[in-house]
Amino acid sequence: MTLLFSKIAQNNIKTVITRNNDLQILTISYRKLSIVPSLYDGKEDPAPKFFSSNVQVLLKRLTRPDFNKVFRKRTNSGLAVLRTPKYKFLTNEELEAEILKANKKADVLLQMPPVVKVHQPVDDVLSKDPALVGYDSAKYLFTDITFGIANERRLIVERDPDGTLRHCGHDVRKRLNQTYFPIPGRKIKEPMMFTNEDRFNSLLDRQEYEFLLDRACLQYEPDEASYQRITSITYQHIDMNKSYDLLRSTRHFGPMTFYLTWHQSMDSLMLELLQSGAVREGVLLAALRQALLGDVANGDNAQALAQQILPTPIQLAKPERLTEEDIQLDNKCVECIEEYIVSNSAMKSQQELALQGFREHYQQLIELSRGLKKAHGNA
């Protein structure tokens, strides 16, 4: 029975088991199987690695931004009636300028939420005055509202009923900052969708990952333990359901990939990449792992290959025609991934199978494009 349970847990399927004699129905859904969140609270700080330009470039490329999704209408932004799109005739130069503008806009929209270590608790007593005991039964909170100071550097102190003057803790600071300098959309009280487990799980079940992560970004600071707990559970849920596509072209894909790689559980993502035929991104993922953990066999090769891949255009769909350079690059990628699978992968057989499938498909594609070239007479 325990074996059966673990198998159900692996498959994450709402399963109904009917026992042969008694009509006892046992429903198991994965919401009952709790995910254990893991925070960035170890010795090593992920921030320097996350912010290094090398890793940022890899994460942005792995996001695979599809502008149709990046610039989709999400709200009518306060307008009663949506504006009709404008169509213009442009010269080539004007078109290039517009594309450049769109790229810049997309960069802003796709800016990744930072990945940093959990903050340390504040314990900073400024003075102790026992003669003040009995002055008041309430705490006094003093906020410096001087113009032009950032929230995290604002002076906020409290005078306790026992006469101690100390700096406030992070949660009190956040509450007071929100009181005097409100961030639109952030609530002073934590929203129910984060505090109530049923509601949170129902969001996960409905796969509202982007909504969840966007709201978490707004409500919490990235170095808060609750933020990291929520995002961690969400990422693991996505990983379990293999619904990475829901997060592609959003700003959350990078931190998710970073999270999975940091905790050495990016093999199902790798499998998904191989199954969808994105070997180049598979190599980028291996290079990312090399940059973060440095344990990939022949990792320098992967990183060098990643540098070759980065200038090529992003392949949003499977290519229909191939040039000789493409074929060369993809062959190198396949070799690199083979090495990765042999030495580092935790899902060897499945990934090998996926890679084999890719190889067969790719061979057909090569023959087709070479045949076409021949038929056109420029082979």
Partner: protein, 133 residues
């Protein structure tokens, strides 16, 4: 009636004495104070020169009293020679910006004494009850 802007609308003379004081802004049974700088010989109902902070004397649900202080502007007005009224001096003292005001110590001491006396009274009452029983 809308609130005056924080920068204040009160006209003032450069060399006239200024005072930093609490100005009551709440309604009946709900006190709330602005910490403002005004000319010393003006009523609290008249427009102020500048608002420097706020003080909510009623504890919130977490049993906290919130005080906001624009320390930069307070320093500026102190540098200009503004007087500080005793309640504001007490608040600034508790915040660690000023030394603790003597009246704060007096209040604390008196509160402790009343508490002690109340305790003693309670004990006496219990004792007399026991003696009666």
């Amino acid at each position: 009636m809308s609130l005056p802007p924080a920068s204040g609308t009160g006209r003032f003379f450069a060399k006239a004495a200024k005072s930093i004081r609490l100005i009551r802004q709440g309604c009946t049974n709900r006190p709330f104070f602005h910490i403002s700088v005004t000319q010393r010989r003006r009523l609290n109902s008249q427009p102020v020169i500048e608002q420097l902070g706020s003080y909510d004397p009623m504890p919130n649900i977490n049993n906290e009293k919130l005080v906001a202080l624009n320390l930069e502007r307070i320093k500026y007005w102190l540098g200009k020679g503004a007087h500080v009224s005793p309640p504001v001096a007490e608040i600034l003292g508790l915040s660690g910006f000023f030394p603790i005001h003597p009246r704060t110590y007096m209040t604390a001491w008196r509160n402790r004494r009343t508490e002690r006396e109340n305790l003693a009274k309670q004990l006496e009452a219990e004792k007399s009850k026991e003696a009666a029983a």
